[in-house]
């Protein structure tokens, strides 16, 4: 894996985590419905697992 690919994958992973946290604050602020929040949580989950599995190193 090139370092550029790794950076892209990491960016998507962290964006997934940020989406999970951010959407919760939007619900708290009354800006987002709970149903939309659930969908964003699922999207954040897919973004994290779809990319983190490739760049998080295995234990030795």
């Amino acid at each position: 894996m090139t370092s550029q690919t790794k950076y892209i994958l990491q960016a998507v992973s962290f964006a997934g985590l940020a989406l999970s946290a951010f959407s919760a604050f939007l619900v708290f602020g009354g800006i987002l419905t709970k149903e939309a929040y659930f969908r964003l949580m699922e999207a954040g989950m897919l973004m994290w697992f779809g990319t983190a599995v490739f760049w998080i190193r295995k234990d030795h």
């Binding site: 999970s20 946290a21 699922e42 994290w48 983190a52 295995k58």
Partner: protein, 497 residues
């Protein structure tokens, strides 16, 4: 058991840990990042969904939770940093060899066997947690123990068997890939806990910092236990946070891990596990539980069932369900693997796969007992108090024995099969603490108060408040008995060689 079969058992035990017999080389030591990652991932398990919920059910106040858990987790971190890690980096031996040298092989076998059983039980509780997540989307109701459902339904049991079987088979096949997957899951899980809690706070009516403290005291940590639950307070929170991993820190179980640390100060890395897993996650699961119960009561449900699956679905939807499933699964797997290793000691010539499958069968049975999740806090307290004394002996043997002119590793030097001071300290400490707690907890044991002196009969103490008494009793018994033992039979010059 004749003498040849005894020696075979001890040989097998030693062979199993043969690779760990020598101290770790300097070239194989790890730095801060390794230990931070290890603690952060290991202490966010499926059971965090249960323990935070139990504190709500036991009627603690918000102050008890926020301050009590902070104090308890700080004590746990300090125990790792000042008791466990310094000995680990000086000796660089596993817990197995430390106990073997101090207590002799027989007590080590008992330690391994009992440790394997408790690991199966804990793995079972994790399977139970995962099963509550799997059954929810397919409308199979999880048992509500608090409402009197002491056994799960047949479809629930079949699901638990399926989940447990997958875990057992993966443990047999080796879990290298799963260990990697667990490492991937770990950073994501705290986000689910925190996101679910933030959304749940909103549903409870919190609108900002202005009414936060009022609402959490009125609707979450109310100070009033649910019907049928014992009332917990500040010291229970301190005790639970300190006790739940006591077998690892004061009990010295993690010398096996910290023997790979470059410096003893790396014991402070445990703070990442404690404050993410046993502080933030417990608080979040408490919030999720209260919000779920309130919503169910508002919807007319008379006996809400705040299972991990239910509260995670309420707070985070299907992402929450996946989180519960993975939190239970990824921690149950290594737990079962370790249980298999420990069981292998006591099973004559059984293959690793057979032992692990047998451990898996015990795990599945315990997963199907709803009482285990209901009393999980007390189970971890018993577990901690039972295994802690052996760590106390290692601590005393290392720091105090040379200063008192006593020989270290007496059992090893004398070639004893069992150290009676260690046996007296171990079972004496646990027995005394159990009876002091049980006399006021169980009606059938109330008679103990009648035969005790007044000051002990009036001593009211719960399991969670027994950490220091248990440690002091264990150390005192072990020290006094060792003084007698070494006075009666000192180590000769030849034995020292």
């Amino acid at each position: 058991m004749n003498s040849s079969s005894k020696s075979r058992l001890i040989d097998r035990l030693d062979a199993l840990y043969e690779y760990d017999r020598e101290a770790v080389d300097e070239g194989k030591l790890y730095g801060w990042r390794t230990f931070i990652a290890m603690f952060s991932s290991e202490h966010i398990a499926g059971t965090e969904f249960v323990l935070g919920t139990l504190l709500v059910m036991h009627g603690v106040t918000a102050f008890d939770v926020f301050v009590g858990l902070a104090v308890g987790n700080t004590l746990a971190v300090l125990s790792w940093a000042f008791m466990c890690a310094p000995i680990a980096v000086r000796e660089r031996l596993t817990i197995y060899w430390q106990i073997r040298k101090i207590a002799g092989p027989y007590l080590t076998i008992i330690y391994s066997g009992m440790f394997a059983l408790i690991l199966c039980l804990l793995a079972g509780s994790m399977v139970n947690v995962s099963t509550t997540a799997v059954t929810l989307p397919v409308n199979i109701l999880s048992p509500n123990y608090a409402a009197g459902q002491t056994a799960p339904s047949v479809p629930w049991i079949l699901t638990a068997i399926g989940v447990g079987a997958v875990i057992a088979v993966l443990a047999v096949l080796g879990f290298e890939r799963l260990a990697h997957f667990a490492k991937v899951v770990a950073p994501w899980m705290p986000f689910i806990f925190v996101a679910g809690a933030i959304v749940s706070l909103r549903s409870l009516g919190v609108t900002g910092t202005g009414n936060f403290w009022q609402i959490v005291n009125e609707k979450i940590w109310t100070g009033i236990p649910r019907p049928g639950q014992i009332h917990y307070g500040f010291w229970h929170c301190v005790g639970l946070a300190w006790l739940c991993n006591i077998a690892q820190h004061m009990g010295m179980g993690d010398v096996t891990i910290f023997r790979y640390a470059r410096k003893w100060q790396m014991g402070f890395c445990s703070a990442f596990g404690m404050f993410i897993g046993h502080y933030i996650a417990w608080i979040c699961s408490g919030i999720l539980c209260a919000a779920f119960v309130h919503s169910q009561l508002a919807a007319g449900v008379s006996d809400p069932n705040p299972t991990p699956g239910n509260i995670a679905m309420f707070g985070a939807g299907y992402a929450g369900i996946v989180c519960v499933l993975l939190a239970g699964w990824t921690t149950a797997n290594p737990t079962l693997y370790r249980a298999g290793l420990a069981f292998q000691v006591a099973t004559p010539n059984w293959r690793r796969w057979a032992v692990t499958l047998a451990a898996g069968a015990i795990m599945i049975v315990t997963a199907c007992i709803p009482a285990i999740l209901h009393y999980l806090d007390r189970i971890v307290a018993y577990y901690g108090l039972f295994f802690m004394p052996l760590g106390a002996f290692i601590f005393i043997d290392f720091w105090l024995f040379p200063r008192l002119g006593l020989a270290r590793y007496y059992a090893e030097q004398k070639g004893l099969l069992m150290s009676w001071p260690a046996a007296a300290g171990w079972f004496g400490s646990f027995g005394i603490c159990f009876l002091l707690s049980a006399k006021d907890q169980y009606q059938s044991m109330g008679w103990i108060n009648n035969i005790l002196p007044a000051f002990l009969a009036n001593y009211k103490s719960d399991l969670f408040l027994q950490v220091l008494p248990a440690w002091l009793i264990a150390v005192t018994l072990y020290l006094v008995c060792s003084l007698i033992q070494q006075k009666m039979s000192p180590i000769s010059q030849e034995q020292t060689k």
